[in-house]
């Protein structure tokens, strides 16, 4: 039996990894909750955001933690435009079409990145990448602590938007009853695009938090996709607190599984959990029926 302190360290590490997972999942679940589509382009958008954060640092010298305030609005606009002018008009409300369109976008974005920047893996070197706090029994990496704090901040801001603003009210109305909302004069296409924008902004924030300690290549974002799907399914499709808690739980599970079983099984483990959840309790965990 390993010492309990090592386990505590593993849990703490898992929580910090889970925070970024949660942020990626937050965007996915938000889009699902309102548009009722699984955005297959989420991973590709994360890769694009990682490239954006990388070049913001490399060319403009913008620190990733400052770049957040530029990239989040930029990606919000990008997401808005994608839904408003590409996904919405192409899918015409048909669920199967939406699946194919987001898949097509994902393939397009990922390979456009590959075409433009090749498969090379790039990293940024910031001064604080390896800074850590000594807890006596383990070290906590500063960038990962920042991520954890930032994720809670983002979730809080999202909650504020949803709970207190008229826009948030409109989003919630569309999520609950699309036709009713439309009859009440809400511009559904606009709300859909806003939501897609918010989801994409989450991805941009996640990218800025990741880039100091992570790497970027055209498929870097895909590494998070199965995990994010699993979290969204676990936490309940469309549930923001579910994504937050689900993300942290998966982070801890992964850390402990890696600790006990070794790293190589981790990747298969996530998929197996995901398949199991889908097969055993699909509706129950999704919250609403398909």
């Amino acid at each position: 039996m390993p010492s309990p302190l090592i386990l505590v360290a593993a849990v703490l590490n898992g929580l910090m990894t889970g925070a970024v997972y949660a942020l990626v999942a937050l965007g996915l679940t938000l889009i699902y909750g309102v548009l009722h589509i699984i955005n297959f382009a989420h991973g590709a958008l994360l890769s694009a955001a990682l490239f954006a954060a990388f070049f913001a640092y490399q060319i403009l010298g913008l620190d990733p933690y400052l770049a957040v305030f530029v990239l989040a609005p930029v990606f919000f606009a990008l997401g808005y435009a994608l839904q408003r002018f590409v996904i919405g008009p192409a899918a015409r409300g048909d669920e199967r079409n939406m699946l194919l369109v987001t898949l097509g976008l994902s393939v397009f974005i990922e390979n456009a990145l590959l075409y433009a920047f090749r498969a090379n893996t790039r990293t940024v070197e910031v001064s604080y990448a390896f800074k850590s706090i000594d807890l006596g029994f383990t070290f906590l990496a500063v960038p990962r602590l920042v991520s954890l704090a930032a994720v809670f901040a983002v979730a809080f801001v999202l909650w504020l938007i949803m709970a207190l603003t008229d826009t948030g009210k409109a989003i919630r109305a569309v999520a609950k009853e699309k036709l009713g909302a439309e009859l009440a004069g809400i511009d559904v296409a606009h709300v859909y695009a806003l939501t897609f924008g918010l989801g994409t902004a989450c991805v941009a924030i996640a990218a800025c938090l990741l880039i100091p300690t992570y790497y970027v290549n055209p498929s870097a974002g895909n590494a998070f996709v199965p995990v994010a799907f699993t979290i969204v399914v676990l936490g309940g499709m469309g549930s923001v607190p579910g994504a937050l808690i689900g993300g942290l739980v998966i982070g801890v599970v992964e850390s402990l599984a890696g600790f006990f079983l070794g790293e190589s099984l981790g990747e298969v483990g996530i998929f197996l959990i995901f398949i199991l959840v889908l097969l055993v309790r699909p509706r129950g965990l999704f919250g609403s029926s398909t």
């Binding site: 994902s106 390979n111 199965p226 799907f229």
Partner: protein, 331 residues
Amino acid sequence: MKGFLLIAIVVAAFAAVPLVVHSNVTLNFLVVALLIALAGQGWNVLGGYGGQYSFGHAAFFGTGAYVTAVLQMRYGVNAWIGFAAGIAAGSAVGAIVGTLAFRAGLRSSYFALVTLAFAEVLRILASVAPITGAGVGMLIKLDLRAQSFQFQSRALFYLVILALVAVALVTAQMLERSRFGAWLIAVRENEDAAMALGVDAFSIKLGAMVLSAAITAAAGGFYAQYFLFVDAGIAYGTWISIEALLTPVIGGVGTVFGPLVGALAAKSLGEGAKLVTGDVPGLDLMIYGAMLVLVIRFVPHGIVGAFADVSDRIKRRVLAARAPAREAVHG
């Protein structure tokens, strides 16, 4: 009968190509296009006629490819028997995934997700398991004899894949005219209504999935014999899942010729772009992604569907023009 006649004419025309064309580059292009058309026809059976959109047909393609290769190289089994076993194994994977997914009642997005997840699990397992050659992949020994399913001339490979495509076309045509096909289409259009009318949706979907998996696994087995190499990224990679669904979507989902037309269109565009800019990684898939979005936006029924729409409109106009004339005779 009209449908079968059309298939016969098209296949005969394709079969005549090697008599005229001797360029290996062109034949290679056609072999790959037909290979993708075959994988796409598999997807079309389940996705086009059954409305179940799989994002993980690589699971079947890869199983067909690996079983064909592994049986030959590890167990010394004859290539043709290996190929048949590959098709059987692919169907078995289809049956397992289908049973699990349809039992759990997974539809649309969830079905797409779970098929994607199965393909990924198989890809990861194949990239670590020693029997598949793990990360290195597996080479099939060169043995250019017909009984080893290898041919000196590319034209023979071409005729074999053409024969497989012909079988798939006939299968799709028979499906369209069969009761099973009618039930499958009923499930696609409205599963609950079909069930209310007594259609056993679970068995119908499962049957379609097994047939679909078998066809796509055949494409995988042929791939292994043609390129004599498989690895996890090729066999179970997302590229084949995407091309398998792209071809029917471009050509026309739920049509007999959709996958063939779509494969020729997609491959022509992909290769055409390579000629213009050189072979840069990512270019062909980038074009496929854009095509997918554009086709759904502007040609929602695919190329074959668009032609059918146009001919319908012309027919209706001709009929409308005739109608007053007929009235005049009676009047």
